[in-house]
Symmetry: C2
Subunit: 381 residues, 2 copies
């Protein structure tokens, strides 16, 4: 019942309804939409200390603290957000939003299509990173935040940060891009495609209308998550965590779980399949595939990032093979070529892509060091 | 109708029936079994110029030449086997066998269980690399080959070569281990497990009795192969081959094929699913997972390889991330520690794991150089 001293404690999601239509990159228009979000800390009088947290593939608005005193786990980035933590809620007003198309309260496949009175299901439009950023800007308007002190995100979240810096250059002072990439590689897309095919071809999927059929493409989602999970972990951390350890100590010569790593993956897949919507998963992978801000600027990442006016912190992790340091360096190099201030670190860790969510001391110290200067900056203005 | 001058030309598979029982590592016994194989070149009078080719996950006995004048493609390793080629059929007698558990003619899930008179299906025992090598030794006996000039294989084939050197040290002069590893990593096993789960959970699988049900787990096999294929290619070669190219030039905002890499993977998966048996695929992935010769020698690869008496050539490929050069170096280091002659090369290429099957000039020259010395050696005795 008592939370750690550096926790934001009990938090409550808020929902904002947007009555205005939102035109999307795909050409379709959402007649209206909801965004669910949480806030931690206090907005200062100058409204200058707000930080936006952008979530990754399977994230949501519950980034820190607890919803009930009995919650076993806090929000997904509680290691980084709280009083005295790197994203210090004693100094910052932190806003975490669930993206459009999500399955945690913002308008998405599981919410009601106002035109039909039934859940959108697969008819919810394929939203893009750009669409998300546009909707987040409308949220900022409603919260009275003209300019973010920083926009922060890892992985797909980092892509939103990049898009913010390009599309709304006046509206953020700092961009923190973590474990991300300026666009997916063919290999990244290939992994997404296998995950999608496993869901799309699940006989329970019914072209996305599983709710109507009273079914659920559970197995497809399990496979997708098992596969995704392999790409989140490094070869090193898998070796260290599981090696070739056997669950029962000897080979069974059958297809039940034998190696610990199999058991772990099946568990991860099953847990995920109970807590995530398949249509949302599909949509999120497409947002990843489509992201390519350079494509709007003659395929020049330099030209795209030349739009930005903020300062950048770019962080990568040495064993991340999903978005390896070289991909972060593409961002850094482009920023340097157009003369933008950018700090870059490739943090040494064996944790792979997942590192951006983990309490890795060097990494958290870097975040904290950078953001303390940001706090000083906004407080002395 | 005319074959290239350096082709072995028309070839015909042979089948040998083994009436003796074969006890397997899993504890079960095959009462009798068939092995299908092909041979190229002539066995010399001293019976000393024979080379055994061990195949990988989806390979078989048809390694070189053509079965009919109309065949569009030759055997799977035709780039390396033929008159004047690295595995020179003017000098060597080459034997390529389909492993037990396969689906191309040797006893396996699709062949008849003598006890029931029906296809084995999922009741075919899970054979291991060690079992394969034992059965290959029986084949050598029947062919009157006391000692192979060389045993050669890539990937899972390389594992058989290692096992030969440990279990039958007197029966080979040279071991050529290409793009292989002394055992799978946790990440390797994890990828295999996702592939297996995609087949095992396909509703058409019926616990392996799909033939009886008149069904086929086509979709599961497609997913397994799509995933496998990603691990066979390097990130570099995928970038070069497909990049982010779109099939129709623009985003479709749907789940049909958009990127060229998606189209390629689906095609690979579908082709494979028409030509391979699902029970065999499952069994082959298990043989990979189980392979760990060190486990019989106090988990010491050095102790295991200390049994060997042959000379070794170990070849890896720089962009192979399935079995990267570091894995080959584990083999090389262990051999050096126990004082065995070993030559090692990490061939520079962007082709990834697939490189071992491809006509990469440096690689083929190395094979040729090494094997010419082997031919000289056996011919001058």
């Amino acid at each position: 019942m008592s939370f750690p001293a550096d926790s934001v404690g009990l938090v409550k999601p808020e929902t904002l309804h947007f009555e205005q239509p939102l035109t999307l990159e795909c050409g379709r228009t959402l007649p209206n939409f909801d965004l669910v979000y949480e806030t931690y800390g206090e907005l200062n009088a100058a409204r200058s200390n707000a930080i936006l947290i952008c979530h990754a593939l399977s994230g949501h608005h519950h980034a820190a603290g607890y919803h009930t005193p009995d919650d076993k786990r806090p929000g997904w980035w509680d290691t980084a957000i709280g009083p005295g933590k790197p994203i210090d809620t004693n100094r910052f007003y932190v806003v975490a939003v669930n993206n459009l198309g999500g399955c945690h309260g913002s308008s998405g496949p599981t919410s009601i299509n106002p035109k039909t009175g039934e859940p959108w299901g697969p008819d919810f439009p394929l939203v893009t990173v750009k669409d998300w950023v546009n909707s987040q800007a409308l949220l900022a308007d409603r919260l009275g935040i003209e300019q973010w002190a920083a926009v922060v995100g890892g992985s797909l979240g980092g892509m939103q940060v990049l898009q913010w810096s390009i599309d709304y250059p006046e509206r953020l002072r700092h961009a923190l891009v973590i474990a991300s990439a300026p666009r997916l590689s063919a290999q990244n897309i290939a992994f997404n495609e296998v995950a999608r095919q496993s869901i799309l071809t699940d006989p329970q999927f019914h072209q996305g209308h599983y709710a109507k059929h009273g079914t659920y493409p559970r197995q497809g989602l399990i496979l997708a998550r098992m596969l995704g999970h392999i790409t989140y972990l490094s070869d090193d951390v898998m070796r260290e965590k599981f090696g070739r350890d056997l669950r029962s100590g000897r080979f069974q010569f059958g297809f039940d779980v034998e190696f610990q790593v199999e058991s772990y993956l099946r568990y991860q897949g099953e847990t995920f399949s109970r807590n995530f919507d398949a249509n949302t998963y599909l949509l999120m992978t497409k947002a990843l595939d489509y992201f390519d801000p350079a494509s709007e600027y003659d395929n020049s990442l330099e030209n795209a990032l030349a739009q930005a006016k903020c300062k950048f912190l770019v962080i990568a992790f040495t064993t991340d093979w999903r978005f390896p340091p070289e991909r972060s360096k593409e961002i850094v190099d482009a920023l340097l070529e157009v003369g933008h201030p950018v700090s870059y670190a490739a943090v040494q860790t064996d944790k792979g892509h997942d590192a951006f969510l983990l309490p890795i001391p060097t990494y958290l110290r870097m975040l904290k060091g950078y953001l303390q200067r940001v706090a000083d900056e906004v407080e002395t203005e």
